[in-house]
């Protein structure tokens, strides 16, 4: 068990290292003059030289990567090319704001989707299932910028209950942001729910068809008990990675939603940095989101081990096998 845990955590670390390597190389080491790309054709020689130095392009790629990685490990994410401020501070604030919309969206979205997925599976083929399936298919098919645009139209313009966009800009305080989080949260829930509902529905249907679900029913248990105790825990297993992907995607900065609602989170920062070609900030965002992705997946795997004793890799079963029944 402990061995398995350590192995799993090491795997995560290796994945992260690889990801950081890819990000660094994709942005700094590819052919062509990055500085030229960033500054444009009519940049002066001095500006180019300055930029190369700022980006560490003078050194060999490996030395540059090592220095950059070392910085990350010590909490130094570099300085913004635009504002000259430390990247860590910029990202910290934006990430906090993203959490403010992501956490409620995750909590509501996951709980709601799992319940709806199970409900659809139980009523398979009937009206409720058909409507849930059709709505989730539609939600999957309509991009979030459309959902967000429509929500803005309906709520903020036709019946102004919520503020449609945040006007305060980057230094908005918590009090300013709170009323503005609801529409983004609703959009995010709508977009992520579809995948989780579909996965949970299909997994629940599969699990309901297992021998052990039938056995539980045929020993006289109520259907509710069969469902909650015997079906749902196992049905959750294949859905956990789906949830993990959705969470990682949410925390990774919901670029579109934040842009439309003018919400100062990680996604909006990403778009700004692309427009201003602020490479250090983009690299740092990539690392932060990759870390989120890897950690969320790690947590999903650990949860799976918690739910499913088979994944804990006990060695007892093997020890028990040979001495069976020989007496």
């Amino acid at each position: 068990m402990a061995q398995l845990l350590i192995r799993r955590i090491l795997t995560s670390v290796v994945t992260l290292l690889l990801a950081s390597f890819l990000v660094y190389f994709a942005t700094s080491a590819l052919p062509g003059d990055v500085a030229q790309q960033l500054l444009g054709q009519d940049a002066t020689e001095e500006a180019l030289a300055q930029m190369r130095e700022d980006l560490g392009l003078e050194q060999s790629v490996w030395a540059g990567y090592a220095a950059w990685l070392g910085g990350i490990l010590t909490g130094d994410l570099g300085t913004s090319l635009v504002s000259g401020e430390p990247v860590a501070g910029i990202i910290g604030g934006a990430f906090g704001n993203t959490l403010l919309i992501a956490v409620p969206a995750i909590v509501i979205g996951v709980a709601l989707s799992l319940a709806l997925g199970v409900a659809a599976a139980v009523r398979r083929g009937r009206g409720a299932d058909t409507s849930i399936s059709m709505i989730s298919l539609a939600a999957m098919s309509i991009p979030e910028f459309v959902i967000a645009t429509l929500l803005v139209l309906v709520f903020a313009i036709a019946m102004p209950v919520f503020p449609a966009v945040v006007l305060m800009g980057d230094d908005a305080g918590l009090g300013d942001l709170l009323p503005a989080v609801w529409l983004p949260v609703v959009t995010l829930v709508l977009v992520m729910a579809a995948y989780i509902i579909r996965a949970m529905r299909s997994s629940t249907i599969d699990t309901m068809a297992t021998e052990y679900a039938l056995t539980a029913e045929l020993k006289g248990l109520r259907r509710r008990d069969v469902l909650l105790r015997h079906v749902v825990p196992t049905a959750l297993l294949p859905v956990l990675p789906v949830i993990a992907i959705n969470i990682a995607w949410l925390l990774g900065g919901v670029v579109v939603v934040e842009t439309i609602f003018n919400y100062p989170g990680l996604g909006a920062l990403m778009i700004d940095s692309v427009s201003t070609r602020d490479l250090p900030v983009l690299q740092a965002i990539a690392i932060v989101t990759a870390t989120v992705y890897v950690s969320v997946n790690l947590v999903a795997d650990l949860l799976a081990m918690l739910i499913d004793p088979r994944q804990r890799g006990t060695t007892r079963s093997r020890a028990a096998a040979p001495k069976e029944e020989t007496a």
Partner: protein, 282 residues
């Protein structure tokens, strides 16, 4: 053991048929669009800006006086082209890598899996924006970028589908004959993951269309004045209350295409016995 109930399956086939029809019609319209209306999709006309529906302009005009119907009909071209190219590359690449990983089963499999995970760990939109920042917004840059972003997911799914094939008797028989890895992958493994690959194609295509539209919406995909649904929604949404059709028309077109692709993928998955919902993870 499992008894197939045929009634819902038949309904599925019809839904898939509708989906496929929607996709085909969208593609046809995109191909024929230059000859479908008398207007140019890009020429501006300040005198006719933001008109409502008229007999001359069925869906009205946008803020530059361009015919919304014309732009909507042509608006699928960019997304469809990128989606077709990028999905083809991503699925081909992913299938090969996935099949090799499944067959290799050892350190090579482990190494491939780690690299795939690392690529997947950077969110798709961010990866695309990074690539676009460095390489610009050219069509092929976006096609290749989208391919690289989606190939690992395809590879993971194909690897999963190929694992049971690798442990089957016919692959063992080929190995016992002494056949080399490539013929085994080509002759025995790939034909048996074809179902999965086809479903992947339909499903990834729908995601790529969404992603490309999102990029255009954000201003990093199609360049103005190219007619593109994502870009149109971005341009026209400020005039949503004055001339709503300018936004609604591309939204409906985009939704029809993606719902069509999704229905087709669902139907395909159902008919081929591939569980599609369970793999939204990859």
């Amino acid at each position: 053991m499992s008894t197939q109930t045929a009634a819902p399956r038949q309904r599925r086939i019809t839904a898939a048929g509708i989906g496929a029809a929607a996709v085909v019609v969208t593609i046809l319209i995109a191909l024929l669009s230059p000859w479908l209306t008398p207007y140019s999709a890009v020429a501006t006309n300040a005198d006719a800006a933001l008109l409502g529906p008229t007999p001359a302009h069925w869906l009205g005009t946008d803020q530059y006086g361009r015919d919304v119907l014309t732009r909507t009909l042509e608006g699928g071209r960019y997304a469809l082209l990128v989606a077709f190219l990028a999905t083809s590359i991503a699925v081909t690449l992913g299938t090969l890598v996935g099949a090799v990983a499944a067959y290799a089963d050892g350190w090579l499999d482990e190494a491939i899996s780690r690299v795939l995970d690392a690529i997947l760990s950077v969110p798709a939109v961010l990866a695309l924006l990074l690539i676009v920042t460095v390489f610009g917004q050219g069509l092929w840059v976006i096609v290749l970028a989208v391919s690289i972003v989606y190939a690992p997911a395809v590879a993971r799914v194909v690897r999963g589908a190929a694992r049971p094939v690798v442990s089957s008797g016919y692959v063992a028989a080929a190995r016992a004959r002494g056949e080399r890895a490539l013929p085994i992958i080509g002759r025995e493994i790939l034909p048996n993951v074809l179902d999965t690959v086809l479903v992947e194609f339909a499903m990834r295509a729908s995601w790529v269309v969404l992603l490309v539209s999102t990029l255009s919406f954000l201003g990093f995909g199609a360049n103005p004045p190219t007619p593109d649904w994502g870009l149109m929604i971005q341009e026209n949404r400020t005039a949503l209350t004055v001339a709503p059709l300018g936004t609604v028309a591309p939204i409906v077109s985009l939704a029809v295409l993606v719902i069509g692709l999704n229905l087709a993928a669902d139907g395909l998955a159902k008919r081929m016995g591939v569980d599609r919902a369970a793999r939204a993870a990859a």
